[in-house]
Subunit: 203 residues, 2 copies
């Protein structure tokens, strides 16, 4: 490999770039050669931005979301409903839910899901801190917004057992047909769930 | 945007990553969040590798290929045929031709193609240095290995006019059907060229 590129520097950059998800060695080489053709500053800005982000990024002490300060913008926003916690796997899920604009409560980012197959147990993700938050912050509703996978369902089940207490409502995201989906092309599982979970027709 | 991510550091990394070719803002965010989940060293190695490569990479003084020293491994390999120059657009073309294993001559990397539409003239790419190399290095054959586009053809035509001299053979890559292609599915232009350029059947 090293002789193939005849440049250790290029070789190293390609090796590092190809560690990124979805970037194979060919794409990595394409990206590296692209950066070599750009003004020097473009490559340096990129490299420095990656290093700075990884070294200095802050996570919210309360909800573990990415933040610009100790307590994130959502947690410190007094106009939000602080008695409702939406439990998600990742920071991206927070962004996705925020972009819908329909949720005005706060969040709790687990940073992963329970996955015995990958050796990830409850102690490896932010479950304990959630269990403590619920009574301390006087939470009235915990919304489990986890992916409908084995890991997601396992984690949701575990959390529901741990946080359960009288007066606390535990909910999960509604399952059903996508808004633009057609019945004919909807998979059976989804269609079945949308029948079981049918709602009153609004007139 | 900044408020959407609630972290200037993440914001900046996403902005820089999305400048890469083929990387939209969504992929950039995915890459950035991936790097945040990795050990700190992974992200730092990547950032530093990009910076080091761009700041310190060396190009061969003779053929302009990426190199680990002033004269690249191919130019300094005495077992190669130094009277045959293969003219290519990019470093990637050198790699592609090297990986075939059939070429034993040397190279000249133009670093681009003449493209009046993009304001790129002969003086913007490494044509003058090629014109000087041919007599100085006593070259016997110039192989024009440029893409069959308007820019490639224009550049090939221009170079052929500039380097022309008695005793110098100028060749171009053969055009024809791909090795695994079927006649039925080959486009007309390629099929036409493969008829015009038909070769003696080897028995």
């Amino acid at each position: 490999m090293i002789t193939r590129y005849d440049s250790q520097l290029l070789q190293r950059a390609v090796a590092e770039l190809s560690k990124l998800p979805g970037v194979g060695e060919k794409s990595a080489l394409r990206l590296a050669l692209h950066l070599l053709r750009q003004p020097e500053n473009t490559a340096i800005s990129l490299g420095q931005a990656i290093i700075d982000m990884r070294q200095n990024v802050i996570y919210c002490k309360r909800c573990h979301n990415i933040s610009s300060s100790e307590i994130c913008g959502i947690c410190s926003d007094s106009s939000r409903d602080s008695e409702r916690i939406c439990v998600v796997e990742t920071v991206r899920d927070v962004m996705a839910i925020e972009s819908t604009g329909v949720y005005r409560g706060i969040y709790h980012v687990l940073g992963g899901l329970i996955s015995p197959a990958d050796g990830i147990g409850p102690q490896d993700i932010e479950i304990e801190s959630l269990v403590q938050r619920v009574p301390r912050e006087n939470i009235k509703e915990v919304i489990l917004a986890l992916n409908p996978t084995i890991e997601g369902d396992t984690t949701a089940f575990y959390i529901s057992k741990r946080v359960k207490s009288p007066g606390l409502v535990i909910t999960a995201l509604a399952r059903g047909m996508s808004v633009s989906a057609e019945i004919e092309y909807t998979d059976e599982l989804t269609l079945g769930r949308s029948i079981e979970g049918r709602t009153l027709f609004e007139q």
